[in-house]
Assembly symmetry: C2
Homo-oligomer: 193 residues x 2
Amino acid sequence: MKLLEDRILADGNVLSPAILKVDSFINHQVDPVFMHELGAEIARHFRGQGINKVMTIESSGIAPAVFVAMELQVPLVILKKQSSAILKTDVIQTEVVSFTKEISYQLTLARKYLSENDHVLLVDDFLANGEAATGAIRLIRKAHATIAGIGILIEKSFQPGRTKLNEQGIHVYSLARIAEMDTDHITFLPEEA
Amino acid sequence: MKLLEDRILADGNVLSPAILKVDSFINHQVDPVFMHELGAEIARHFRGQGINKVMTIESSGIAPAVFVAMELQVPLVILKKQSSAILKTDVIQTEVVSFTKEISYQLTLARKYLSENDHVLLVDDFLANGEAATGAIRLIRKAHATIAGIGILIEKSFQPGRTKLNEQGIHVYSLARIAEMDTDHITFLPEEA
């Protein structure tokens, strides 16, 4: 999506070949009108596929995901990050280890918000190594729901997240795909259909 | 706002005289079309007051706040909850102790996203004891920005949050104000203008 690529070039900040800061318009400060446009584009891509729930992971996935859900007119389910396991039968959990942030957490969902009748679109701001997305997919499968695909704002295509997800048969749609970057240059992969 | 009061009566779940669960449409699962209507009403109330930034606290404030910000066409700044203090001059922090959840955290903001030129509307899902809101206001003052007011979805009016904020001269606008509640009854205070 050229709109997002241009904004990354204008306002993104590459700190190292692996770290892109977009906190002036995506994570820490959010441009809500722009975010609505991004959410509408992800909704457009997945429309007509029987999706009845959008899912995301707190907290930086919430802003894009709530616009995708509004456009598709379906509920948004927000997975919580808990520091420890909860031993209750009405909760589903799975452990996620983030290599980037060197932390682990329990991705947590109240069981009543996901069932075998749900066809789920997962939305997040970044896809890099795919740990969080893979964890969310484990939860979706534990609930016997099905996965329509994953909508991502910015994919670091030089990291293995997409490949790991594709190997599981999961369709990934990313609005911007970064092939490589350094402090004075960002190269994008061609846009997807 | 009758729309929200009716939804609380229909889908809210009072666990005790102090605890109201609204996680089927506000925090854990979000009804995005409904949340957009709530955000638009908060924006309507505060429109024309020179607000140039909306602020919220991760993570359950993000969904309502991003709609308020979209309607006012201004950026949204999301305060982060860090577990420990960061000793960097480009970050502003203040400690918040939550009595409800028995935790404390450092409310954290990159200094560049708030300055003395900013007139800020704070938005959150709940107002109870007001610890988080009071912390956010300390950060706004540390940055020499000014406060237009606070927009809240659900206020527990039997707890002291609003009074503490009003005593600091801060205008609070809540869409639903709960006077008292128990497991089979909820009483609301009259709507504000």
